[in-house]
């Protein structure tokens, strides 16, 4: 991540907030922590519609469409897409 403000810990904190927004809307319990190895479907309980909402919220915040280059499965892959995305390239 080239943007000095976009270190992994900061992005994970922001992602946790986004993930919890989606979970809250579905009436699911809020997560206290997000770790890179977590799977979006199995561990976060997201279906395809939730992943669409997640994509929009990440796009709004980081200017990266995480699913544009194919499916992502884990938090780690989301981090990679954000890190290699347009926002950090432009910085």
């Amino acid at each position: 991540m080239h943007d000095p403000n976009l270190n992994v810990a900061n992005v994970l904190t922001e992602l946790l907030g986004i993930v919890n927004m989606v979970r809250e809307n579905k009436g699911q319990l809020l997560l206290g922590e997000l770790t890179p190895e977590m799977k979006l479907r199995e561990d976060l309980g997201f279906d395809s519609m939730d992943l669409a909402e997640l994509t929009v919220r990440i796009d709004e915040r980081f200017k990266v469409d995480v699913f544009e280059a194919g499916l992502v499965d884990s938090v780690d892959e989301v981090l990679n897409r954000i890190g290699g995305g347009k926002a950090s390239k432009n910085n």
């Binding site: 809307n25 519609m49 669409a52 909402e53 994509t55 929009v56 919220r57 796009d59 709004e60």
Partner: protein, 242 residues
Amino acid sequence: MTRHILITGVSRGLGLALAQKLLDAGDTVSGLSRHLSADYETLQKKHGKRARFKAFDLKQASHIKSEVFDDFLPFDLPLHGFVNNAAVAYDDLVTNLDLDRFRAMNEVNVLAPITLTQHAIRHMLFNRVAGSIVHISSVCAHTGYKGLAMYAATKGALEAFSKNTAREWGERGIRSNCVVAGFMETDMSASLSDEQGKRIHSRTALKKATEIESVAAAVVYFLKDGSSSITGQNLFVDSGTI
């Protein structure tokens, strides 16, 4: 409650009439057209900031995200509806098909509306808006007219897209419907001869052209909460084509 509605083809004809209706009702309109028309400018003078406008050519479907959404429709301006009104008509016999012209028509009539829908739904998801999408289709997708097979194919594609969008996004409260318009007296049908016009009108129960106001009123109905249980439907506003 006032709403914010995105309308394509807002400079004249049905798009203009619809913008006027919504603006008069207190809604905010974000209008797209290739050029700002004097008529839409008049609406801007009357309604000020609620009559938004962006010059955009739907032939540039790949620029929709950056130019229409990122620049003109930021996420902090919630979107309650999208009316896919703009279209171009290329008419000829099937045997005379010009592939380049057909491709260009598909870009404006199918690819751009589908891409606009993609981003309109994303916008609605972000703001958790149970929005309404309305596509303007044409009766020629249901009743054959000589010379309109290619144009009708683009409208048939939209109707299928609308029904599937309704199914896909209904669980988030997002609705999608089509208003299937008959032949209106707009610039789009201006190329029809009087004879063709008479033949078309003679096939309707009311024996006359479809009124723009009637089509616009049907679109407004789909945009409002009064139609909140209606999705995936086609409403024919066509003088009763039989």
